[in-house]
Symmetry: C2
Subunit: 139 residues, 2 copies
DNA sequence: GATAGGGCTTCCAGTTACTGGAAGGTCAAG
DNA sequence: CTTGACCTTCCAGTAACTGGAAGCCCTATC
């Protein structure tokens, strides 16, 4: 299979697949003309990567998951731990975003949104009145 | 004020403040010795930026908000629109993360997490059974 | 006056996970 | 033979910093 075939079948851009090769996540063979030659196993790996990435796993997590996936002796506890840690990160992000949403929603509700220059959003951001903003945290 | 003073009072790392100068968000003066000399207005701007960033506004949004903040003639509707768009982005991200959380949570619940090699998480990622993963979207 | 410490400066590189584009080789069809 | 689609590599850019090196400046102490 050439790269555009796997790209279509894995639902990933060709550029991304080349990148995955560059960082060692897949190692397709090469045809005589220099084109990458992908096996069914490569395709399967790319599908795996696509799914894991869609779940928000980072590249290094994907590398570990892929190694676990290829290791038939591994314990499911290893995978579970990776997944659980990742779930905790997701929960953190959700909590942060919800805090942002709450603050920003309150500011928007208080803002007339008309042609007058007085704006509670800017007033709050500039630190004049309350300290609603700043409740949130950086990632 | 030297940079470490504003850094402390604005709650931002000095590195970040230099970066904000580099991209034109603040323009502190310079002392004879070449040190940055920050005014109270600069400090106020940096506080503003810190709050807006904590709400998840991107740098370019911050630039616009800062311009609106300095423009006493602006309409509050302009600010409200920026904030509302940003709120929509936040809602999107939350929805995506919640979808991920749901899928990943279900996978973790099904996984024994013991020493046996059989693992439903990897089975799902490898595309064997259902198509639970892939429901989610990239940012 | 010399020195030590901390603070300040600039510049360069690295982070995440790609994405866009240029320059050029390859292949199948007409 | 030419056209067009496909493939290759390499370089640069994205967001928003962060870390580190090399070197100047200022103050205090001996």
């Amino acid at each position: 299979m050439n790269i555009s075939d796997v790209a279509r079948r894995a639902g990933l851009p060709a550029k991304t697949i080349r990148y995955y090769e560059e960082i060692g996540l897949v190692r397709p063979g090469r045809s005589a003309n220099g084109y990458r030659a992908f096996s069914e196993t490569d395709l399967h790996k790319l599908n795996f990567l696509g799914r894991a990435r869609a779940l928000g796993f980072g590249i290094e997590d994907c590398r570990k998951l892929l190694a676990l996936w290829e290791d038939t002796e591994r314990a499911s506890a290893d995978v579970r731990r990776l997944a659980t840690e990742h779930l905790a990160r997701i929960d953190d992000k959700i909590a942060q975003l919800e805090s942002m949403r709450e603050t920003l929603g309150a500011l928007i509700r208080d803002c007339a949104g008309d042609a007058r220059p007085d704006c509670p959003i800017l007033r709050d951001l500039s630190g004049g009145t309350g300290d609603r903003a700043r409740a949130t945290v950086r990632e």
